[in-house]
Every structure is written in structure tokens, then in C-alpha cells.
Assembly symmetry: D2
Homo-oligomer: 126 residues x 4
Amino acid sequence: MKSNILSWLQEGNIIVPALLFSEYRKLNLNEIELVLLLNILTFLEKGHEFPTPEELSARMTISVSDCNEMLRRLIQRGFIEITDEYSNEGIRFEKYSVKPLWEKLVDQFLINNKTNKEMDKKAEET
Amino acid sequence: MKSNILSWLQEGNIIVPALLFSEYRKLNLNEIELVLLLNILTFLEKGHEFPTPEELSARMTISVSDCNEMLRRLIQRGFIEITDEYSNEGIRFEKYSVKPLWEKLVDQFLINNKTNKEMDKKAEET
Amino acid sequence: MKSNILSWLQEGNIIVPALLFSEYRKLNLNEIELVLLLNILTFLEKGHEFPTPEELSARMTISVSDCNEMLRRLIQRGFIEITDEYSNEGIRFEKYSVKPLWEKLVDQFLINNKTNKEMDKKAEET
Amino acid sequence: MKSNILSWLQEGNIIVPALLFSEYRKLNLNEIELVLLLNILTFLEKGHEFPTPEELSARMTISVSDCNEMLRRLIQRGFIEITDEYSNEGIRFEKYSVKPLWEKLVDQFLINNKTNKEMDKKAEET
């Protein structure tokens, strides 16, 4: 009983900005791409920094080759990037970074804010 | 500058169990259904307890009628339910509950745990 | 077994900006005041918007009168405020807002950023 | 403007079970000990797995030697433990684990649940 709650706890939680769910369509992402990004985030959060297309597609409804192609396109379109890192012992490894996704989301957020302010201003003038 | 960070903060975050992303396929959900559930969760979190198909589909890539049909099917298949609540002043209102989703996820988690234990046991016996 | 995990889930989680833990001292808060604020946040998160000194001190190591005095001082020093809200049915109620705390935290964050940039600049010049 | 929101985002958030705030007193923790544990959690979350008493006390209102003593006592009383880990390259390092804290919290949660059920039963019998 206790051990089950503890292993549930160990699985952990992911924190996602609410804006990602309201704005992904405006960022030209579809639901499959969004879930692929959320899965990369989940792997990163667990310390697995470079999940393979096999690992990602195993939990999704898409094939390995479709997943591979989707990853390639997400990199090309500037949603994720692959960075080179070095361990404390100087060994090189690759990892995904979702920083470009957060940049796009912040851009969208600032555009929304600006539009809202302009609409407020217009409403006041009339 | 400050006001932008504050309004970013105000948008809030959603906490999602990491297991939802690794197990949704085993629960027979596809990516569009998963994102629909996550959007309901986001509305609930913000205190908007009964988002309409119009509000949900507006942020997704599906039409209002497809969204409507998907909601109907998710209720039928036992992922969400509509409950009757009463405000402090005794006025009735409807709200979505995602409790059935968490129940299914916990069931799946317990099945996984059991299978793992049996596999460990078999591995020990051989 | 299952019901225990579900009731654990129902207790919920609180999201706290990591900066609050690294900066509270710079905001002139001590640990008891910080935990009092975190407890108010927890009550708010659960939809209980105006916890009493009795409810707050019951889970802390301070007496009701000390808690009362601490709440008064936190309002005076601009960390929390009491706002008037109206229910859908037009009935007035009071609630705590921790928005002033987030404002102070963002101010401190911007000061840190500025200081870091100036130090980087000085380091470059020498 | 954008860079400030991005660096705010980068500071990250900590997820804390709401139960920790309602139950820490029952676990015989005071507010300073609780905040010390939350600070260890924050460092762990950021990938810094063995913060020193100097680093911890620098953000708290206690001295280095008091912090050192408090860490010693929290290990002795079974709230945290120091574990030996090995990097991919086979180099040994120490890290804090807060797993014992979660175990104590789950124990307390199960005791509460049991007490509630017994009280419900008694209420029904009378």
C-alpha cells in the first residue's frame, strides 16, 4: 500500500505553462507535434536527455519513421534543438533543448499582450 | 518589463503526472483526445469548470462538431464525467470531472507494477 | 490500494517558484513568515480563500495570537492583501491575495539580473 | 523584455505535495527545518545534488554551524539521507536523498486516512 504510493510519487510530475495549451495552434503545432514535445520534456525532466525516435514513438500512436521525420521538422522549424554537452569527466554527449519552444511561446504571449492593449485603447477611444 | 513577468505568472502552470504521457496510448487514447483532456484540465485549473466545445475547439485543430463528438465519446468511454454542483447560494451548475481519467491511470500503473514484479520473480527463478 | 493513491492524488500539489526559496531572506522574510505565506497559498490553491488564524496556526508551531499578529504585519509590509470579491450571485466575500508577494519577488529578480549584468560588464572592462 | 521572461522561466518551479504543508508539524518538524528541506529539494531539482551548509545557510536566516547541526539531526532522525552514486564514468559522488521524508509523509497520510475511516464508522454506529 505504502510502497505503491511511493512508486507513484517517484514517477513524478511535469509542469507545463497553461499558455502552451491555449497557444500551440497559433504556433502552428498540431496535437501530435505538441504531444511529441511534451514527451521530450518528460524524458528531459527524468534526466534522460536524448530519447530516441524508438523510445518516443513506443508511447505514441505514430511509427518510428514518422517520429523521426517529425523530430527533423521540429528542429528545422525551430521548436527544439540538439546541443552538445560535456560531462564532468569531459565526455561529449548530445541532448535535446526545448528552449526554442519557450522562446516562441513568450513571443506569442507578448504579441497577445500587445494586441489586447491596443484593443483596450481603441475601446476607450470610442 | 515587470508587468509582463507578472502577467506571465498569472497565466499559471498545469501539473501533469509524467505517467499520463507514457501511458495514454495503453489507455487507448490518441494524441488529439489526450490534448482535449489536457485542455479541459487547464480550464478546470483556471476555475472555468464547464468549457464549451466552441471554447475547446478554438484552441485546437479540430472543428466544433468533431470536438462535441469527441467529448461525447470520452464521457461514454469513462474518461470524463459531468457532475452537478451547487454554489454556496444553492444554484445548480454543471462541471467536468477528470477523476475517471486518474482512476484509469492508477489502474494502468498498478497493472504495470504487478507485471514488473512478476517479471522480476520469473527472472529470479531462472 | 487504488483508493489510497487516488486520495493521495486528490490532496494535490503546490507549484512554488524556485526563486522564492533562494530570495525570501533578501525580501526580509524569516522561515516562519515564509511557511505562513506557503500555507496561505496552499489554502488558496484548494479554493479556501480566506483561512482563519486558527486554521493556519493549527498546522504551524505558532499560537493563534502570534499567527494573527504575523498576518497583520505581512499585510502592513505589503506581502499579502485582503480583497473584496463578489460571487456570481452578488454576495460579497473576502479573500487573501498573494499578488504583492509575487511583485516583490519579481522586483528582487530584476535587481539580481541588473546587478549580474553590471558585474559582467565590469569584468569585461578589466 | 523577452529575455527577462525567459530567464524567469529558467529559474524553474518546485512541486511540493500540499500535504507537506498541512502535516510537517505532525512529523515533528519546525518551520526552519521544513524550509531547510525545501531548499535541499530546490538544489536537487536544479541538478545540484549535494549543497553544502554554506550554500544552504546563505539563503536562510541561520548560521553555517547551525545549518550543519540541523542537517546532522535531520539525517539522524531519518528525514534525509546521503547516498553514494556513480557517474557514467564510474566516479563516485555523494548526494542527498529526500526519499525518507516522502516515506514519513506517506505514513502520516495513511494514519490520517485510517483515523478518518474509524471516526466515520463510529459516527455511523451512534
